[in-house]
Symmetry: C2
Subunit: 323 residues, 2 copies
């Protein structure tokens, strides 16, 4: 993979439009839901884009599907490979099957059994490795060398960012008069795609990222105005325990107005309240922007403010809920 890392190499809105066409027959156009009681309690008008109802239970299917769809017939015969212990793993397995390609997912030994089972259910092959970044990359590279499989990284990739941007495209298509859009930030695939899509659809829109305090490298990067790698992650939001991608950072730096951080206590409270009010299951990472609504600048906003939030996913282990 070439990984461009200058702003000049970043993704255009046309790549997102193309991604939308490419994934159209495969990904769900997820619903946008509102909740009367939630709006009363938050004092805002909030529109939730339900990527928890996306195929494989997260927005990750959009990017994975776009990346696999861009492979040639010859490339598809060699299959695809990725390293992920989370939602990208299931997304790659499912997307590969859609296009008749084999998928190999490198997962750290001891990964969540539910996540492993999902990969296998979608026809993917799990290869275990040691639980560190170097082992994951080395193991994936080995699969590439041995099988010629195409590596599809989880977020630091133009095809992935373009795919993730299609969620914001649909959200603004459905609610064109949004004042604000917000998404969680981990590696930065979703929020980078959201920046490009939302800015192109509505130039004046305000864009925010929400991040857990316990994995706040995007917030640190934004303060310093240079990419700060994540040293260690300690948060309940298991989808956001990753460093910002090289390609993602300059897009986010240019696109977002601010990065709002929330504590794990706030994340869990928001997740729980959201379940109770909407009857929709969201995972902790999705609850990060929901929790952010209670912090500045949102807590003082006018009641007519329309905020779109991308709910990133709904894959939780019912035996290990965070309360």
């Amino acid at each position: 993979m070439n990984q461009p890392n200058s702003v000049a190499d970043t993704i255009s809105i046309d790549q997102i439009y193309q991604a939308a066409v490419r994934i159209g027959g495969h990904a769900h156009r997820t619903p946008v839901v509102t909740n009367r009681t939630f709006n009363q309690l938050s004092g805002l008008q909030v529109f939730f884009k339900c990527e928890n109802l996306q195929r494989t239970g997260s927005f990750k299917f959009r990017g994975a599907c776009n990346a696999v769809a861009m492979l040639s017939a010859a490339q598809l015969t060699h299959g695809v490979v990725t390293h992920s212990s989370g939602n990208h793993a299931a997304a790659i397995a499912c997307a590969a099957r859609q296009f008749g390609a084999r998928a190999t997912v490198v997962m750290p030994a001891g990964s969540n059994a539910v996540k492993k089972a999902a990969v296998i259910r979608y026809g993917g092959k799990v290869v275990e490795c040691e639980n560190n970044e170097a082992a994951r990359i080395a193991t994936a590279d080995k699969v590439v060398r041995e099988t010629g499989a195409n590596l599809i990284p989880p977020f630091d990739d133009a095809r992935i960012i373009a795919g993730q941007g299609t969620a914001a495209l649909e959200l603004l298509d459905e609610v064109p008069d949004l004042d604000i859009v917000m998404a969680p930030v981990g590696g930065g695939g979703l929020i980078a795609g959201t920046c490009i899509a939302a800015r192109a659809q509505k130039p004046g829109i305000r864009i925010f990222a929400a991040e857990p305090e316990g994995a706040n490298d995007a917030w640190q990067s934004f303060q310093k105005q240079e990419r700060v790698p994540l040293q260690s992650a300690n948060t309940v939001a298991d989808g956001l325990r990753t460093s910002l991608g090289l390609l993602n950072w300059p897009i986010i730096q240019a696109g977002v107005e601010d990065i709002v951080t929330v504590s794990d206590v706030e994340i869990v409270a928001a997740m729980r309240q959201f379940w109770m009010l909407t009857k929709l299951i969201i995972e902790p990472s999705s609850a990060v922007p929901v929790a952010a609504l209670q912090k500045p600048p949102f807590d003082g906003m006018d009641q007519s403010t329309k905020i779109g939030i991308i709910l990133s996913g709904g894959n939780v282990d019912p035996d290990h809920l965070p309360w």
Copy 2:
């Protein structure tokens, strides 16, 4: 309340059409969802009518709203009263508020704090009584005598049955080629309304009720072909621990093909699987028909069979999940 108890007095489809008009501006037209993996695993094509996404989190709002809407302006000034420890309580409080009426809900002391809080959030007044049927009725009657409030019972009432029937009306409007429709049975408001609505919309449709083994009075009644009161209830499905209503029984007797019972273990497994696959929160009572799909006659049906299931509600206490 007059409670008619002969078949001649039962509800006509016109009453359901009128209820649909009456509640139109207040109740949600809930979505009908499908799930690819669920269909693969069950070997059926299942369409879920999501009353867990109805206002107040259950179908009960339909009947409550219809009953309140039928009161005259003079009656509304005296408010409404009911006795319920469950979803009907919140539904009455919310419906009364829609029409500017006071709501009093008689609840047994020690009722679930979450359910009490819901009544209060919707502006209702909670009056506690001893935890037995006689005390509930006596306390509600006292409120009627003292305030002139209009009693709206939870299921044994034509206005309630007509309101609940609107869910099946919408389901068949959206999926007209259903072969089968199934709903849970407790007091019988939902399934009775479903019988009348579904039979009128599609005379040849097959109608089933699903019931917990631990509160199987409808099943016993169907075996004996006469109404058998529930002696005791022991089931996780807290919405279905009631005896069939007098008015409800003959409608069910005439309308359903069979009553399928499921164990608590099956209910909990179905609920959990449904959460995992769909990311939608359903309460145990809703999982009863979902669990029934794995039993005869559904387990041997052709894969092209289209089954509509009414998911009755989604009000669970996240601190006391049944697994």
